[in-house]
């Protein structure tokens, strides 16, 4: 196996899924002849043809609405939203329809669509090419939410998503699309949902992260090691379903938690994690739970490095939590 990038792994995952099952097809803007603005669908039009790699008009409403109709009919559409920031015209279809079809039909109409979207900051994309709004989807009953942070997980979680029977919001951390590389198994490689990844063991504090925040969390842990602080790093991989057992067990061991995400703090997914810990790991907690997050502002352009959590900010929070108890 050679090392490939995260976006290449997405590409291989898509190709694998399409080879496995003729019912799998792709819909999105600029995904065909252009190969996707990030090249995630490069080469797929050529291999699978225009009936299965469908360049659509500029309407996310239409993309997700038609994908839902296809899924009801029995196909397995994978949708690309060009940037997560542009998913909102489809929000009604996602939260009112996609997430609720199985439930509202009493199980008669499952609706299995995979919605892929590059997300997150760090690419000088400003307000509308940087946002991390995973919490909207995690809060919506009926949606699963997967976020890889390595090439192997990108392919493995994507194939699990395609084989799942439920709608999946699949968020790709575009900042590390090319900067993170790794070996990726060939063929039908799958990574189960609801199983967090232990990135690094530690005993003094648990660092929870996902997506593009995993590398700075690891970097912070390495820095802290030199200071005599042993930080465990856990990559959640899926927010829904959440591997609560792993999250709770880690804090039972370390007694301290620092949660990292790019999204704005208020009502971000870190709030949910903190709430789980404050309920279920309460007696193990030795220090306040810290959140290292994006600020409660829109995502800025010139100052994105001020906005984004990085290794230093994470390490700073860990030190405070360790000092506390």
């Amino acid at each position: 196996m050679t090392e490939i990038t995260l976006v290449q792994a997405v590409n291989r995952g898509l190709a694998e899924a399409m080879r496995q099952d003729p019912d799998v097809l792709l819909l999105g803007e600029d995904i065909g002849v252009n190969g996707g603005v990030f090249r995630a669908t490069e080469g797929l039009l050529k291999e699978f043809g225009a009936e299965r790699v469908i360049d659509t008009p500029l309407s996310e409403t239409g993309i997700v609405g038609t994908a839902i109709g296809m899924a009801l009919y029995g196909l397995k559409p994978i949708v690309e939203i060009q940037f997560l920031d542009f998913i909102y015209p489809a929000f009604d279809q996602i939260v009112s329809e996609l997430s609720k079809f199985r439930y509202r039909s009493g199980g008669q109409y499952p609706c299995h669509v995979v919605v892929r979207a590059p997300y997150g900051g760090g690419v000088k994309g400003g307000l509308y090419h940087s946002q991390s709004t995973e919490a909207y989807f995690a809060h919506t009953a009926g949606l699963k939410v997967a976020i890889p942070s390595t090439p192997a997980d990108a392919k493995g979680l994507l194939l699990t998503a395609v084989h799942d029977e439920d709608p999946v919001i699949f968020l790709e951390p575009k900042r590390i699309y090319r900067s993170v590389t790794g070996e990726v198994p060939e063929g039908d490689h799958r990574v189960p949902f609801g199983v967090a990844r232990l990135v690094r063991e530690g005993s003094d504090v648990s660092l929870f992260a996902y997506g593009a925040m995993v590398p700075p969390a690891v970097e912070a842990a390495e820095t802290l090691e030199n200071e005599g602080i042993s930080a465990e790093v856990i990559d959640l991989r899926t927010l829904v379903p959440l591997d609560e057992a792993a999250v709770v067990a880690s804090v039972e061991k370390t007694g301290r938690a620092v949660i990292v995400h790019e999204a704005a703090r208020t009502c971000g997914f870190g709030a949910e994690l903190a709430a789980v810990l404050a309920e279920k790991a309460f007696y193990s907690l030795r220090a306040p739970i810290a959140r290292v997050t994006g600020y409660d502002t829109p995502f800025p352009y010139a100052l994105e490095q001020v906005y984004l959590p990085g290794a230093e900010r994470i390490a700073h929070a860990v030190r405070a939590v360790v000092r506390a108890a």
């Binding site: 609405g65 038609t66 109709g69």
Partner: protein
């Protein structure tokens, strides 16, 4: 008699509509329309009595719904709004199933999950309705794209109202249908009202049908009180769709005789005179007169038709009302194919102390 009018010539010609349905077919249509009318009236009174929680009547739209449904085939897919009870009946949902849903009992196909009128019958390719206006339109287009891919010679039909022409999904759905030339029939029942908003304040176009032209395919206005016209227009649209000629938008011009729903008081926004004028065109009476003129119906048979409808309704209602209520623990099912750990936990919490699990 048949008055399907091609409003504009878009991407394709609208050819002359086919011959009207046979007398037998029209008598069948009449039976359905009477059954729908009787059910409708019964439901309004059931709601007043508190035996069902809500109802949205279709009275005035019987010819539109029955005429459209009869022109379809079982393998076609219907994407209804919340007012298409008669369509469900014609497609084979039983009256008892209808009442099961209106009541939300243990037998309800959708497990009591939704308000009355939000039917879904997989066996009848009658996709489960939702309340948000218009969302089914782009979904119907997607299902048609799927049928194209599978080479299934079917059509998908999106039902919606005049109000829904302002929705995002109308625009997206019709645009995709035009671009991908999908086998879709867009069946708009223009009943002149979106709750209290009259048609002419919904949009400034002269007709709703002409909006199809913006998407490169034809739109047709039909007199929705006229069963034959509706049947003809849908038959032709279906033919076009299955021969690869693409989608059609049909505007069936009708009038909503009743309130928007049992929560609505139409006297706040329209006059009795207006309503009475519309009632002159009652589609049930009109078809009755036609059938009588054709020698297919007399008073005796007509009485039988009505009596049978009433009996069917009484029987179905009794059945539905005697079914047990829904098991509370089903609330945790069907969110996903399998319950997540969190849903298991919530269900266990409810189970361990149901008294504390509810809203009391």
């Amino acid at each position: 008699m048949t008055r399907a009018t091609a409003v504009r010539r878009g991407a394709a010609e609208v050819t002359a509509p086919p011959a009207p349905p046979s007398n037998e077919r029209r008598l069948e249509a009449y039976r359905w329309m009477v059954l729908a009318r009787v059910t409708d009236e019964r439901c309004l009174s059931l709601q007043r009595q508190g035996r069902i929680g809500f109802y949205a009547p279709l009275s005035g739209q019987e010819a539109a719904q029955v005429g459209c449904a009869l022109a379809l085939r079982p393998e076609d897919w219907v994407f209804p709004a919340y007012r298409e009870m008669a369509v469900a009946l014609v497609r084979g949902a039983s009256l008892t199933e209808i009442f099961d849903q209106l009541i939300g009992n243990a037998r309800d196909r959708i497990k009591g999950r939704q308000m009355p009128n939000h039917f879904g019958f997989r066996a009848q390719n009658f996709v489960v309705a939702s309340s948000p206006i218009g969302t089914q339109i782009s979904q119907a287009v997607g299902a048609a794209m799927a049928a194209q891919r599978r080479r299934d010679p079917i059509v998908t039909v999106a039902f919606f109202g005049d109000g829904a022409t302002s929705s995002n999904d109308f625009h997206a759905g019709l645009n995709f249908a035009g671009v991908f030339r999908t086998p879709t029939v867009f069946f708009c029942q223009n009943n002149q009202w979106a709750i209290s908003l009259p048609r002419e304040r919904q949009t400034r176009s002269a007709t709703l049908a002409e909006k199809a032209e913006a998407y490169g395919f034809p739109g047709v206005v039909v007199d929705g009180f006229d069963l034959n016209a509706v049947y003809g227009a849908v038959t032709e649209a279906r033919r076009r769709a299955t021969s690869g000629e693409g989608p059609t938008l049909i505007e069936a011009q009708v009038y909503r005789f009743g309130p928007h729903s049992t929560s609505d008081d139409p006297r706040r926004y329209r006059t009795d005179a207006q309503l009475e004028a519309a009632r002159q065109q009652d589609p049930v009476v009109r078809l009755k007169n036609e059938l009588t003129a054709a020698g297919k119906l007399d008073e005796a048979l007509d009485e039988k038709v009505w009596a049978s409808a009433k009996e069917q309704v009484a029987h179905a209602l009794e059945e539905a009302e005697s079914a047990p209520p829904i098991d509370p623990r089903t609330v945790f099912d069907d969110v996903f194919a399998e319950r997540t750990p969190r849903l298991e936990e919530e269900r266990r919490a409810y189970d361990s102390d149901p008294a504390a699990g509810g809203g009391r």
